[in-house]
Amino acid sequence: MSTDEIVVEHLTKQYKRLRAVDDLSFSVRTGRVTGFLGPNGAGKTTTLRMLLGLVTPTSGQATFGGTKYVDLHDPLKHVGAVLEASSAHRGRTGRNHLRMICRAAGLPDSRADEVLTIVGLTPAANRKFKGYSLGMRQRLGIAAALLGDPRVLILDEPANGLDPEGIRWMRDLLKALASEGRTVLVSSHLLGEMQLLADDVVIVAAGKLIRQGPVDEVLGTMGTGAHVRVRTPQAAELKAALSELNATATEQSDGSLMVVGAEAAAIGHAAFTASVELHELATERGDLEQVFLQLTAGKAGIR
């Protein structure tokens, strides 16, 4: 087992009347981005807070390479986190917010300026936090998580408040961090974004695990794996040609054909030999949003 793998075992959190997290077990692999998905109130934030020793589990445990967060020697050098309902003092500048963490963590003050550069906040470094926009606040949180150059990153809804460019920036950042061999766990509601970002997903609803695995696998088991979209004026001829490939083509409401069971190259070749004219030929990944809604059907809703 890698020393950076996150392992969650039978984690349970019982609030007075509500079981926010219910016997949840999953693991997060290194070198990959794992999306942590679930409807509102599914228990994502609670799980992440238990992972980080902020909330005490009713039972079960969560470990980083076998060690609980509170037992890590230099926690910030091991794990960086951005959490919901966490903030900075309104009257403190962004740079001082980071320096304050450096001092408590035994990091040099210069790290504050380095991470400010990484997240692009240097121009606002000496401004007070109360003057930051939502996106700037989110970037400051990410900067704080990067201070210790951690092997593991945990982010709760990090895309909140980021503009399209900011979201793209974060996607590239997290992918780059994962490709360096780090472990990245991100919770989010933005399923389209997750489909672009995540290698693996962990889906929870009502505190329970619904599905975990690589994105493609999860999509595949739900029958919405990769398919090819084809547009042609000679639909009947193409269907006939495709049936010889054991591929099935179904007509879509927009007039295109959705082909399952053959690669784009094979379809193109079949069309070419059958002299069928093609206007569009595109491979499409399954739709995470659809799968998510199917999987969590009936389990969503505020508890």
Partner: protein, 276 residues
């Protein structure tokens, strides 16, 4: 206690405006205290104690002895200085919850008792700084006042220096008490209000309660007055043992007791509480 963490806590205080706001508030309050002490000693006439009980008369006589005038004058500013320190000490804790920085703090230092210990350390440092400033200014402005009152400056008297030292102890103990209350009452507004009101009004109200109880229930209850924290710290720094009062060490013991109780309970609660 990790010095790095104490340093980080002091950095937090330094990088927001609260310290200089409270500092500015303290300046006129301190000046008023010095002038009020001066005025008291300048106008109190030992001959006007007729009609008072024997013990009260003795107390007034004792308080007017040069050494007791000196200890009071050289510890001027204690009342408001401690009020400011106790509020700042509580805010060192409550601002973490008020400004939602507790998550960051406990992520950085998951051993929560270390954080609370560092906050005690930082509050003590703040208390000692305020004590040092008021004491240095007292040492400058009080000697001329003493000669105006026709009493010797007495800077060579051990009693005076002991009072100044005990004054430092009072600042330290109240700083600890403030952190403890801040941990117990997490709401910034509630904690500062409770501290300010019980410090300013509470001790007077409690003295009244004790007075009534001693009148109607039993005389000995009056001796329990020393359990009121403000009375305890007053007693602790008085120059010599005043007649009719418990010895000074009782005042110190009472304050240490309060500081220890709030500190220990507060730390235990913080260790158990969910941060969300």
């Amino acid at each position: 206690m990790s010095l790095g963490l104490v340093n980080a806590e002091l950095f937090k205080v330094r990088t927001t405006s609260i310290w200089w706001i409270l500092g500015i508030v303290l300046v006129p309050l301190y000046a008023a205290s010095v002038l009020a002490n001066w005025a008291t000693f300048a106008t109190t006439d030992p001959a006007t104690t007729e009609g008072a009980s024997d013990v009260q008369a003795e107390q007034v006589q004792a308080a007017l002895e040069p050494v007791n005038v000196a200890t009071t004058m050289y510890t001027s500013g204690q009342y408001f200085g401690i009020l400011i320190v106790v509020l700042l000490a509580a805010i060192i804790v409550t601002s973490e919850f008020f400004h939602l920085t507790a998550t960051t703090t406990f992520l950085t230092t998951p051993r929560r008792e270390s954080v609370i210990l560092a906050k005690f350390g930082a509050a003590i440092v703040v208390g000692l700084i305020v004590w040092l400033l008021t004491t240095v200014i007292n040492l400058i402005v009080v000697p001329p006042i003493m000669s105006n009152l026709d009493v010797p400056t007495q800077l060579g008297s051990a009693d005076v220096w002991r009072a100044i030292g005990l004054n430092a102890l009072a600042f330290v103990l109240w700083a600890i008490l403030g952190v403890g209350v801040g941990v117990l009452i997490r709401s910034q507004i509630a904690a500062t209000l409770v501290l300010a009101i019980s410090y300013v009004v509470g001790s007077a109200a409690l003295q009244l309660v004790f007075f009534l109880l001693s009148q109607w229930v039993a005389e000995w209850i009056n001796k329990l007055q020393v359990l009121v924290p403000t009375t305890a710290s007053q007693l602790m720094i008085s120059g010599t043992d005043l007649p009719g009062n418990p010895p000074r060490w009782v005042g110190a013991a009472v304050l240490i007791g309060y500081a220890a109780i709030t500190g220990i309970i507060g730390t235990l609660i913080t260790k158990r509480r969910d941060i969300s």
